[in-house]
């Protein structure tokens, strides 16, 4: 191809604008039997984007463990749904809004929350809980203070107003996110006995296609394809300020009206199918609904309610204006639907009809501007087999332990790390209790809501520890399942199912793709061992800025079920002279841990996680907790036992330990701390002995009331809990002086 050739030059510009490559252009030619015309460009651009088509990940996502007798609806639907028994079901999903949040943190994060909520209530579930997984760069990185502030305000601004409690979260900091922050929002919705579940599969020739919610504006045009590209693009496609799409503005008030009205029409059986307009707006919702139902649509684009009357058909097709839904209904039910929406001050407008022909005919006034088989855009989207290294289970180096003695200044360094800093500046701004169903809030390792009808406890916890992902992605991915699963088990909640948000760099780079494949395999193995399927998720590639890729970050959301919220062990010490135990998994591996990274060393592992033993550990812990003796519990996380104990030591408590200071900062996969009444020691130890297959145990010491941590060998003097906590608080204040 000569660039001097005017035709080729024109084509190149077009491919650039629509973010399609020449291979894809070729494929479109073959499918259509001619080059694309008019709005077809926009359609292929949107639906063949990485974001909508999963073209680099599809073949791998198939490998996810995804079966369960509880499964009601899995991959492919808006959100995964599982059956909890007793007539209750929950649907949940997690989604990224990384690029928009970096551009405009408040609106980016807010619309991320809005979008994930729509994925939930579009199925007929009432959203009852939110959670968020955030990764930021170094505090000193450019714009980082305002990014953190904007993102948190955006999440709280939207979630609080729409009235869904945010009950859990995770926040990470690392330089690999300096120019690519991650904002992943999780939402969970509830179906009671009588609640109707609907899908997005359009049916019934002659039925009407109805548009509801906010009017369409120029918001986020080309958003989907932009989210599928590295930041600041390639050299020949610099991100031109003027070509930036209009920032999408979220309106949580409108969303609240949409929730109520959509649930009303769904539960009154007025709709056949419904889908939110998310990425690539009207295009993706209509094409997916038609394609799934095996039908076609006549769509009258000139009937779409507009905020700006000068919009072209292409603008209308690609707009990502928020708070809009598309539904299919029988014509005779339209008036009833309209009435419900109008009661909530919203409009419902007929914009098309379902036709037998498997074609989407786009009308613009009296003209048919496009007529195309929806499957060409959905089913026939590219499916790439990107290059990766298959030996990802191999460990680069083996950890053989180290014999360095810990010093006071080591302890100070550890407690001054941002990893241990309290995150309450973040979650104090989230309404954690609206709905009046919250039993455990963000101040706890696991968020818990009480199910409205059966009053059982439902736990939500997010996982993925980037420092492990940086060390060994296969192990880190397993940890993204096991760590939260253990956290659930420790609260007496059985891990049931998983959602995920796979945040990665540029998939065209083999090392990124290798991490991706390793992640899918690692997560899947862990899920299989726990019989907890992955029921929904989202992939976010191209988290890359000028060649710098993020830490591979597969954030996960695990949901667990328990019989009652009154029997959940606490997370804090509550009584002098209670006994503290350390329970260690069989075949546990040791790692040089977060501390290695803190001092600039590569984190090493002693081996691979043993899947069977770890699964047995999870079920053993769950069974132990259910016996009812455990008063408080926590998993041992970053930096080992000591920081975990300090987290548990609410004022005025401390601990007298039977281990050395040096041993108290070792990290193993996995260990947990449990607390029991001293009077129950015998009974408890008998119980522990019964779980010898699942774990070994050791008495760590006892709770004291002097707010000090004392070690066995007195190699270090007693540590003041208050002082250690003050160091952690200061770590936050020094990093984010404006955010206190």
């Amino acid at each position: 191809m000569s660039t001097n050739d005017p035709i080729n030059a024109e084509l190149k510009v077009k491919l650039g604008k629509y973010r399609l490559n020449s291979f894809e252009f070729q494929k479109i030619n073959e499918l259509l039997g001619r080059p694309p015309e008019g709005v077809e460009w926009a359609l292929f651009s949107a639906l063949w984007s990485e974001h909508c088509s999963y073209k680099s990940s599809r073949r791998h996502l198939k490998k996810f463990f995804s079966t369960s007798p509880r499964l009601v609806s899995g991959f492919g639907e808006n959100a995964g749904v599982i059956d909890l028994g007793e007539g209750e079901r929950v649907g949940f999903k997690m989604e990224s809004h990384n690029h928009p949040s970096y551009i405009e943190p408040y609106q980016g994060a807010a619309t991320g929350v809005g979008g994930i909520l729509r994925d939930i209530f579009t199925m007929g579930a009432r959203p009852i809980a939110l959670a968020n997984y955030l990764c930021f760069g170094k505090p000193a990185a450019k714009r980082m203070q305002s990014l953190v502030q904007g993102v948190v305000h955006g999440i709280s601004g939207y979630g609080n107003c729409v009235g869904v409690p945010n009950i859990s979260g995770q926040t990470e900091f690392h330089e690999s996110y300096d120019e690519n922050i991650l904002v992943n929002a999780f939402a969970l919705g509830y179906f009671g006995k009588k609640d109707v579940l609907v899908t997005s599969s359009a049916k019934g020739v002659g039925n009407w296609v109805v548009y509801v919610g906010a009017k369409t504006g120029r918001d986020g045009i080309h958003g989907a394809s932009m989210a599928s590209e590295s930041f600041e693009g390639s050299a020949d496609q610099p991100l031109d300020e003027s070509k930036r799409p209009t920032v999408q503005i979220g309106d949580p008030f409108y969303e609240k009206l949409l929730i109520e009205s959509c649930l009303e029409v769904i539960n009154q059986n007025l709709v056949v199918a419904i889908q939110d307009m998310g990425a690539a707006g009207l295009t993706s919702s209509s094409f997916e609904m038609a394609s799934k139902g095996g039908v076609g649509f006549d769509m009258y684009l000139d009937q779409v309610p507009l905020r700006d009357s000068t919009m072209t058909p292409e603008d209308i097709l690609l707009s990502e204006s928020q708070e809009r839904m598309l539904l299919v209904c029988e014509p005779k039910k339209f008036e009833a639907i309209k009435k419900v929406f109008s009661r909530w001050n919203l409009e419902a407008t007929k914009i098309g009809e379902v036709i037998e022909d498997r074609n989407i005919n786009l009308h613009w006034h009296d003209e048919v501007i496009c007529s195309i088989d929806p499957d060409l855009l959905t089913e026939n989207a590219p499916n790439y087999d990107r290059k990766f290294e298959p030996d990802f289970t191999k460990l680069p180096e083996t950890y053989v332990g180290d014999s360095n003695k810990i010093s006071l200044s080591d302890i100070e360094t550890i407690f001054s790390s941002l990893q241990l800093a309290p995150k309450n500046w973040i979650y104090d701004q989230y309404d954690q209790r609206v709905g009046a169903q919250t039993a455990r809030d963000c101040s706890e390792p696991v968020g818990v809501v009480v199910l409205p009808e059966s009053k059982r406890a439902l736990g939500i916890v997010l996982g993925c520890r980037p420092y492990l992902m940086r060390a060994h992605s296969y192990t880190g991915a397993m940890d993204a399942i096991y760590y939260p699963a253990i956290e659930l088990a420790l609260k007496g909640l059985e891990p049931l199912a998983v959602t995920d948000c796979l945040n990665f760099g540029n998939p065209e780079k083999p090392n990124v793709m290798t991490d991706f494949v390793a992640t899918v395999e690692g997560m899947s193995e862990a899920c299989r061992s726990l019989k907890a399927p992955v029921i929904s998720g989202n992939v976010s590639f191209y988290n890359e800025t000028r060649g710098q890729n993020i830490t591979p970050t597969p954030s996960t959301g695990l949901v667990g079920l328990g019989s009652s919220a009154d029997q959940i062990p606490g997370s804090y010490f509550s009584k002098n002279s209670d006994l503290i135990y350390l329970l260690t998994s069989k075949n546990c591996i040791s790692i040089s841990g977060k501390r290695a990274e803190l001092v600039g060393e590569r984190l090493k592992l002693s081996g691979l996680i043993n899947v069977e033993s770890t699964a047995a550990y999870v079920s053993g812990l769950l069974a132990l907790v259910k016996l009812g003796q455990v008063k408080a519990s926590r998993i041992v996380g970053a930096f080992g036992v000591l920081p975990t104990l300090v987290k548990m030591a609410s004022s005025p408590f401390g601990a007298q330990l039977e281990i050395s200071a040096t041993d108290s900062i070792k990290e193993n996969l996995y260990e947990v701390i449990v607390v029991v009444e001293a009077n129950n020691q015998k009974l408890f130890e008998v119980q522990l002995d019964n779980f010898a297959e699942a774990f070994t145990y050791k008495k760590l010491g006892r709770v004291t009331a002097d707010a000090e941590i004392n070690f066995k060998d007195q190699s270090l003097p007693a540590l003041s809990v208050a002082q250690l906590k003050a160091l952690s608080r200061k770590a936050w204040q020094n990093s984010f002086p404006e955010l206190t």
């Binding site: 405009e104 609106q107 503005i249 309106d251 409108y254 905020r307 700006d308």
Partner: protein
Amino acid sequence: MLKFGVQVLPKPEVLDSQGRAVETLLKKEGFNLNSCRVGKYIELEVEGDSSVAGLAEAMSSIKKMSEYVLYNPLIEKIEIIKL
């Protein structure tokens, strides 16, 4: 001492969620209203005198403050008024 007002409004192409809600309500109540947009109003007092140079300097300082924190140029526009 000089006083300025800064009027901040969402850009015309950007959705104004607040304005939309207020507009709907006022129209329902039967008020004569075509459209309504809601933004922020900030009043600032700065050191300076009303000489041409003094005014120019103050104005440039107000502009800088506006860009620094008073509005978000991605989604808002401003108008600065000498009071």
